[in-house]
């Protein structure tokens, strides 16, 4: 298939060989699970169980009432020990409402809904089942998946792109999934195509995963309309908009959605979760996580129950060889820092990485030499050096004028900068600042609107009173002379 050029991009050191050849192992059930009620983009789910309740595996424990939200299920059977704040993997580092489950070790399933009959199922039924199963985007973004399956009705879609690019270094969870369970992924893709009413699906896999390409190609050949496309290993190929551009040549206009181009992107992991929800009736209660980095004794891939603590996972890998210099969740380019190991695995956890300084090439920050490397690699077409220098000089607005809000925080600029300037940290600060200000502004506007409404209401009331008053006066005035006249006549 013909591929299209994407703007910018960097060739990264993959470092995937640490785990790419290791089969996924099923992690045993830990002694305690901390399951946050918000593991997705959107509104948190609301707990529907109480402390002391016994729950079974797969049972709904927190329901979603809002449109953009996802329900949460018990990862195994056991007792609800606590409902309260707990550390969660979130950039803010703030604790999140969390349901603590003490497993009883029986791992007893709740009564699962029967498999969906895809011959007869409507789009809505498929989307509803996926929604009930709490499936979210498994590529890290964790956007409720069902919302993106309902789009078929509103926009006319042509192509479903399945993102198996896995462009971040170290991570191999999608690679392993595609190697080990390709037939299930393909079943998931077919169901999604049916829900979206599209005839064509492209599975994009970076060329550095030949085994995944082979396995998926073998399975896709058996299905109609699904094609595997090998894409170059060029970061950030897995960014949805860039993947769409590489595969279709279409560039998503600013402020538009990819769906407006007739294309939709879902992750391979999501396709697998959709398969489990539809064919087995199982909610999303586990996922594959890559545990890697040179500070981990035996790096590997584990299928882990949601809520398992990172510490437990690291122990499964034989612990740390030495104190890591960086510990984070996700890939090294866009991952988020972990305060410590007492944080649970959530639906969007791709990996847990413990890196050593010598492998990160951390070096002292030097002044910008305007080498332009950051400009060349920026996939968003920005000028990172200028934005950073404006932010540094307290001119966040100036940075916004040259596109700060178009930055996708991919970190490519940061990766190539020979002066080791922490560019992304500037941008995150700048974006936080702009978001804060936008919120303040909208608050102010709300207040202003409120005040205006109130003064208008007062005004109206005053006018009404005046009118009544006038009326009364007139009537009074009319009545007097009339009576006068009357009396006169």
């Amino acid at each position: 298939m013909e591929l299209f050029r994407i703007h910018g991009g960097a060739r990264l050191e993959g470092r995937k060989s640490l785990t790419a050849h290791k089969p996924t192992q099923i992690a045993p059930i830990p002694s305690v699970l901390h399951i946050p009620v918000q593991q997705h983009v959107g509104e948190p789910a609301e707990p529907i169980v109480h402390v002391g309740d016994h729950v079974r595996k797969g049972q709904l424990i927190a329901a979603s009432k809002k449109k953009i939200s996802a329900p949460i299920h018990a990862s195994t059977s056991g007792k609800i020990a606590r409902i309260g704040d707990h550390q969660a993997p979130h950039p803010s580092g703030l604790p999140v409402l969390t349901i603590t489950l003490e497993p009883d070790g029986k791992d007893e399933w709740t009564d699962l809904p029967p498999p969906i009959d895809l011959e007869k199922a409507t789009s809505d039924e498929i989307a509803a089942r996926v929604s009930d199963a709490g499936v979210v985007g498994m590529g890290g973004a964790a956007f409720p998946a069902a919302v993106k399956l309902n789009l078929g009705q509103r926009s006319k879609l042509e192509t479903l792109i399945i993102n198996g690019a896995e462009c971040e270094p170290y991570l191999t969870c999608d690679d392993r999934l595609m190697q080990e369970r390709p037939e299930k992924i393909v079943l998931g893709i077919r169901a999604m195509m049916q829900a979206l009413r599209v005839q064509k699906s492209l599975v994009a896999i970076e060329g550095n995963k030949p085994q995944a390409v082979a396995a998926m190609s073998r399975e896709c050949a058996k299905a109609i309309g699904i094609e595997v496309v090998e894409v170059p290993a060029r970061y950030p190929m897995g960014s949805a908009k860039h993947l769409v551009q590489a595969l279709t040549g279409k560039e998503t206009p600013a402020k538009s959605r990819i769906a407006d181009l007739g294309v939709l992107v879902h992750n391979v992991g999501t396709a697998y979760a959709v398969y489990e929800a539809l064919y087995l009736g199982r909610p999303l209660i586990s996922r594959i996580v890559t545990v890697s980095g040179h500070a981990i004794k035996n790096p590997g891939n584990y299928e882990v129950l949601i809520g398992t603590s990172i510490a437990y996972l690291v122990d499964l890998c034989g612990g740390m060889t030495s104190k890591p210099d960086q510990l984070f969740m996700g890939g090294p380019m866009m991952g988020i820092p972990l305060p410590d190991l007492d944080v649970p695995v959530v639906k969007g956890t791709l990996g847990v990485l413990a890196l050593k300084a010598e492998k990160m090439h951390a070096q002292p920050v030097m002044p910008c030499i305007s080498c332009g490397s950051c400009v060349i690699v920026c996939p968003a077409g920005l000028t990172p050096l200028e934005m950073a220098s404006r932010i540094k000089h307290d001119d966040v607005e100036g940075a916004a004028k040259i596109g700060l809000n178009d930055c996708i925080s991919c970190g490519s600029c940061n990766y190539v900068c020979p002066s080791h300037i922490p560019l992304v940290q500037y941008f995150n600060y700048g974006k936080g600042f702009l978001a804060e200000r936008a919120k303040e502004k909208s608050n102010q506007e709300r207040m202003k609107a409120l005040a205006e409404r109130r003064s208008k209401r007062d005004e109206d009331r005053r006018k009404e009173l005046e009118k009544k008053h006038e009326e009364a006066k007139r009537r009074h005035a009319e009545s007097i002379p009339q009576s006068g006249l009357e009396s006169a006549t």
Partner: protein, 358 residues
């Protein structure tokens, strides 16, 4: 009032690259052409080169001390050495020692640190030095010599060389004018190009660098090899060198077509003078050239035009350094107007029009 405070977080991985590494690569890239220059011009050129580099390092350390900057980090970033190297290779190979020292002083003390040091200067420090020297010491800066390979009988010994560089010993027997200088002078005397170049039209010798000129500017092929090495290692991109050379070649060819008796052909302009040194090593200085590929293409094209104009009509037949300074001054403006296109937007920054879908 906002004050920037870094937000902790990734990325946690970097390319194994540094300013120092880039500088070392630039030096490596310059090495073949420079070594060839040493071969052609012998001991005096080696002494001048060493004096220039050593003094630049000393000035750098002094400036960093005065500005209270960490010497450990900055003195060894290699930038001062590269600057001095570029000055040295663009000097007449047997210039007196103080020309080299003064050049380093101007570049480092005036051209670099007053702006804030590494990365902050508006003008290419090496070219600031060269232009200042050209204007102040036109005589010393234009006494070129014929190539006399270091291995030949004629070449001065180490002792003689010390005398030439430090003692002002005369070497009139060896001097010669550069080709561009000759063309300029003889055109002025009413001769036509074909007569001027009758004996000296030797494109092959020019390409190799076996022609009168500055220490390291002649060896077009070796400089090109160095440039390709830098492009391969992503220290520079192809945009500036290609657009500069192409621009000079096209303009020269055009004028040659118009009047071959007054305007030498493209070969002369491309392969003599400092064209290759300028295109690959000086115009590509990251600090003083545009940041985006579009800007760089424009920069190179305009630079080629300016070099041609200055060589042809100004009093300085070696106009490249002036042209560089002018383009350096224009760089902030180029950067403002020739930005890359933002993903999903037009060059003006408006969202792309979405195709209407049913």
């Amino acid at each position: 009032m906002t004050t920037y405070a870094p937000v902790p977080g990734g990325p946690y991985m970097r390319k194994n690259k540094s300013v120092q590494r880039s500088m070392v690569l630039v030096m490596l890239a310059l090495l073949p052409a420079t070594a060839y220059g040493f071969y052609l011009y012998g001991w005096p050129s080696i002494i001048l080169f060493s004096v220039t580099l050593a003094s630049a390092f000393a000035f750098e350390v002094v400036c960093l001390k005065i500005r209270n900057q960490p010497i450990q980090i900055f003195a060894f970033d290699g930038s001062a050495i590269v600057t001095a190297w570029l000055i040295a290779v663009s000097l007449p190979p047997w210039a007196p020692w103080w020309i080299g020292v003064l050049g380093s002083a101007i570049a480092i003390v005036i051209g670099k640190h007053p702006y804030g040091g590494l990365g902050q200067n508006v003008f290419n420090p090496a070219m600031v030095a060269r232009v200042a020297l050209l204007i102040s010491f036109p005589l010393e800066m234009t006494i070129f010599i014929k190539p006399i390979p270091i291995i030949s009988e004629m070449a001065p010994s180490l002792g003689d060389s010390l005398g030439i560089i430090f003692g002002g010993a005369s070497y009139d027997a060896f001097t010669s004018a550069s080709l561009l200088g000759t063309i300029r002078t003889e055109l002025g005397q009413g001769m036509v190009i074909s007569d001027i170049l009758r004996d000296s039209y030797q494109p092959l010798a020019w390409m190799i660098g076996n022609a009168t000129g500055s220490l390291g500017e002649g060896a077009a092929l070796l400089l090109t090899a160095g440039g390709i090495f830098l492009i391969y290692h992503r220290v520079i991109t192809w945009h500036i060198p290609v657009s500069t050379i192409a621009s000079i070649a096209i303009i020269a060819a055009l004028f040659h077509l118009i009047d071959a008796s007054r305007y030498p052909d493209a070969m002369v302009h491309v392969f003599t003078g400092a064209t290759f040194l300028t295109a690959f090593f000086i115009a590509t200085d990251p600090v003083t050239s545009p940041m985006s590929p579009r800007g760089q293409l424009f920069f190179g094209a305009a630079l080629g035009l300016l070099i041609y104009i200055l060589r042809t009509w100004s009093v300085y037949p070696e106009g490249a350094s002036f042209a560089i300074l002018i383009m350096n001054a224009l760089t902030p403006m180029i950067d403002r107007y020739l930005r890359p296109r933002i993903f999903g937007r037009t060059y003006k920054g408006e969202p792309l029009k979405s195709e209407k879908r049913p």
